[in-house]
């Protein structure tokens, strides 16, 4: 089947910088990312899976998902931050060695989305840890996630 279809990955776009005046990325081309599900509905997780899958293949821009914040340069936070996950999110952020970046993926992580004001909600990701970049959408498209990751890696 692969032979019939041929290449399934999206072609690599020409290198662009979304903010042309931004300083060069401090993480230097290779970024290890720890994903924290702070209370998501798993919609964003599916899209992150797609972004790092063979089709959108975010790894070719120097990003990798890793299993521990101790190995990571950046956090991807999805979902509204629930009361039970607020402290673990703070500790995960503290465990990432500096310099570090946090990306809030999805509307819930940005501004609590449809769950704003619900009783178990501690706030958006930005209320708990400092957020450096945001990816809007419910859920965001994989292209948007890849674009945010490319801003981190600078590739």
């Amino acid at each position: 089947m692969m032979r019939a279809i041929g290449r399934i990955a999206e072609p690599p776009p020409t290198q662009t910088r979304s903010a042309p005046g931004a300083p060069p990325a401090p993480l230097g081309g290779s970024v290890q990312i720890r994903h924290v599900d702070a209370g998501s509905c798993n919609g964003c997780e599916v899209e992150i899976g797609a972004a790092f899958g063979p089709v959108y293949d975010a790894e070719r821009y120097g990003a990798r998902l890793v299993a521990s914040p101790r190995h990571a340069d950046a956090l991807i936070v999805t979902g509204v931050v629930t009361r039970n996950m607020a402290e673990p999110l703070r500790r995960t952020y503290a465990a990432v060695p500096a310099p570090k970046r946090v990306v809030a993926v999805g509307d819930c992580a940005r501004n609590c989305g449809v769950f704003a004001g619900a009783y178990g909600v501690a706030g958006a990701a930005g209320d708990i840890v400092p957020v450096d970049a945001e990816v809007p959408g419910c859920p965001p498209r994989p292209e948007a996630i890849v674009a945010a990751v490319r801003e981190l890696t600078g590739r």
Binding site: S68, P69, R70, P88, A98
Partner: protein, 696 residues
């Protein structure tokens, strides 16, 4: 034979009876007599004094007995000659004959040194709970241990051997009122040690029947005229007897039972001093009295030793009871020493006296190093048992905070037991491997097959020993406490720490300057009549005499320390250049880490258990209980896993079952009817009369 034998015989005839006051006594006999007298006085005083002072009297007397014994042993191994002592009236038929040569002196010195540490430790360990019998028997046990290597006739040896077995049995039984398992362990020990005695008795009596008299001098004179069949029978019988005392596989079953159940100072004495005497018996009878013999004896001994070493350390690696682990490790170390003794005998029969001397020296050095670190480890384990109330490694942990000195002692002992520099066992195992490797030149087919296998067994044993002692130290003393007892553990009293300190110092001396004891070992090897040379010399650097090979434990340790200090300094200097921050230990962001998240001793050993699955045959059992109303829902699940001793299961259980069935069958003969018993008597007499009438 060798120059030592005529000298022994001459001394024997010259001092038939007690020598006069002016006779030459040497330094050995006064010290040994002092040890015996001290032991007796201590035993009597321990019976008499009130409970408050009992442990102090018993422990201090035992330490002094050990000190006197060590002095006697040191005098013997430093070349002080002593006359043979013969006391005709003490034992019926043959009397008591005693002589101390450097070989016996080496074992006496090791035993005495162990007893000094154990005696000091016993003061605090027994404390107020010291029972009258166990306090009184302790010095007597030490005295019997000192007497066995001094025996110079078969009957004396057997009498001392039996005294040693009985006193140790009484000491094993010390805590039988508190724990019922003690009685089971003591029963195993009593039966196996006496079966061993029967084998030694049969072997030596067969030997003595072909000699004029039972003194060792007479036996050695008769050995060259014995037929090979008789010699081999004697050797196999004493191998079984002495091998069971040394805990060689498959006669090791008593060892992992008796050692954990005995009080810890007794475990230390048994494991560090008593089992050595099995090796002493093998060297004395096999190499000394029988004078070498055939190559297959020694190949058999090497095979038994190698199997014991690997099997013992595997059982130790699987064990979660810290004292059982140490007991299994005793089997391992005795196995390694047996490889050395076997190689020594093999090289002597194949005409390589230098190699024979080296191999035997390695075995004798290993006896001493094992005694030092096993004393330390058993005393530290006893300290843990004393403080935390459990021997189960899965329930210990976190003792570093409450018992820093004991932790240090066990850590040093664990390092000494794993054959890595600067550990104590490294030196003796290095010598052993050197002897085995150099023996390959010009070897026969059987030797050429055996020696590489023995080297690989020693190497495998060394690797498994590291894993075992990392497990024992890491799960037992580091991390967080897994039970309330371990959390509340407190440091032991000063006398116990002093005992551990003595053993630790002995470990350090043997690890760093083993050259200091090599001249003594050289004399002991020469007395074993295998070879004239010890095969190794030098104080700072150990050199093999006549072979290429040298090692310097002291310089290795210094280099290791320099590297460690440099690495620590570098690591300290490194982050000073960049920002430094304090961070919480990563615990997945959840609550604090608990003791339930730690590696246990069982889980640490699980990968090894998987690797050696075919050898160990672990048993697992899973019971799942379902709800009555919903068969698909699990109410509870119970998992049990254990690693049984496979040799015991295959070899001992059928024998025990057969003996039980035999007993049941015999019971049918005795149903309690007086008429039947009278009938038995009548038929027996009638049958006897008929037999006599027919045969006359």
């Amino acid at each position: 034979m060798s120059p030592a034998t005529p000298a022994l015989a001459a001394a024997h005839s010259a001092s038939r009876f007690w020598p006069g006051i002016g006779a030459h006594w040497g330094l050995t006999w006064p010290a040994l007599a002092g040890a015996g007298t001290l032991a007796l006085i201590t035993a009597l005083f321990s019976l008499a004094v009130p409970r408050r002072w009992r442990a102090v009297v018993s422990g201090a007397g035992t330490a002094l007995t050990g000190l006197a014994g060590a002095a006697a042993g040191v005098a013997a191994v430093t070349g002080h000659r002593s006359p043979t002592l013969s006391v005709p009236g003490v034992l019926p038929l043959s009397g008591v004959t005693l002589a101390v040569d450097p070989l016996g002196g080496w074992f006496i010195a090791v035993t005495g040194a162990v007893a000094v540490a154990v005696g000091s430790y016993a003061i605090g360990y027994q404390g107020r709970a010291a029972s009258r019998p166990s306090a009184a028997v302790l010095p007597l046990f030490v005295a019997s241990l000192l007497a066995v290597p001094a025996a110079a006739s078969a009957v004396t040896l057997l009498a001392c051997w039996e005294l040693m077995a009985l006193t140790s049995l009484l000491l094993v039984l010390a805590e039988h009122k508190r724990r019922p398992e003690v009685a089971v362990a003591a029963r195993w020990y009593a039966i196996m040690t006496h079966l061993g005695l029967v084998c030694v008795l049969a072997g030596l009596m067969l030997f003595a029947a072909h000699a004029r008299g039972d003194s060792f001098a007479a036996l050695a004179r008769a050995a060259p005229h014995l037929s090979p069949a008789v010699k081999s029978t004697v050797f196999v019988l004493v191998l079984v007897g002495f091998g069971s005392k040394a805990g060689l596989v498959p006669l090791h079953a008593w060892l992992p039972r008796a050692h954990p159940e005995a009080p810890s100072h007794v475990s230390a004495l048994m494991s560090a001093a008593m089992v050595n005497l099995g090796l002493y018996g093998l060297i004395r009878v096999g190499s000394g009295l029988l004078g070498g013999g055939s190559a297959w004896w020694w190949l058999l001994l090497i095979a038994l030793g190698a199997v014991s070493a690997v099997y013992g350390i595997l059982q130790a690696a699987m064990s979660t009871d810290v004292k059982r682990l140490l007991g299994c490790s005793t089997t391992e170390n005795m196995g390694l020493a047996c490889v050395g003794i076997g190689a020594g005998g093999l090289f002597a029969t194949t005409g390589h006296p230098v190699l024979a001397g080296l191999a035997l020296a390695a075995a004798l050095l290993h006896v001493a190093t094992h005694a030092a670190f096993k004393t330390l480890l058993f005393l530290a384990a006893g300290s843990v048992l004393h403080a935390a109330g459990t021997r189960d490694l899965d329930a210990l942990g976190g003792l570093r905070r409450g018992m820093p000195a004991t932790t240090l002692a066990f850590g040093w002992g664990a390092l000494a037991a794993s054959a890595l520099p600067p550990g104590t066992a490294f030196v003796s195992e290095w010598l052993l491997v050197q002897a085995l490797i150099h023996g390959l030149h010009g070897a026969s087919t059987a030797t050429a097959i055996t020696l590489p296998l023995a080297v690989s067994a020693v190497a495998l044993t060394a690797g498994l020993a590291v894993a075992t002692f990392v497990k024992a130290f890491g799960t037992g003393f580091l991390a967080k406490p897994r039970s309330a007892g371990a959390a509340a553990a407190h440091e032991s009293p000063g006398s116990m720490l002093a005992g551990m300190g003595l053993a630790g110092a002995a470990c350090a001396i043997l690890a760093l300057v083993p050259g200091a004891v090599l001249p003594a070992i050289g004399r002991a090897v020469a007395a074993a009549e295998v070879a004239a040379a010890s095969g190794a010399g030098g104080v700072v650097t150990l050199r093999l005499d006549g072979l290429a090979g040298e090692v310097s434990p002291l310089l290795l340790t210094v280099a290791l320390l320099i590297v460690m200090v440099a690495a620590a300094a570098w690591l300290r200097a490194l982050p000073a250049r960049s920002a430094r921050r304090k961070a919480r230990l990563w615990d997945c962001g959840g609550g604090p880490l608990t003791a339930r998240m730690e590696y246990t001793a069982t889980s640490f050993a699980e990968p090894l258990q998987r690797v050696f699955d075919d050898v160990l045959a672990p048993e697992t059992d899973l019971d799942v209980t379902h709800h009555d109303e919903a068969r698909y829902l699990v109410a509870s699940a119970e998992y049990r896993g254990r690693v049984p001793d496979r040799i015991e299961r295959r070899l001992y259980e059928p024998v025990l079952r057969a003996v039980g069935a035999w007993g049941d069958a015999a019971r049918r003969l005795a149903p309690g009817s007086v008429h039947r018993y009278l009938g038995y008597g009548f038929y027996a007499v009638a049958g006897l009369l008929i037999v006599l009438a027919v045969t006359r």
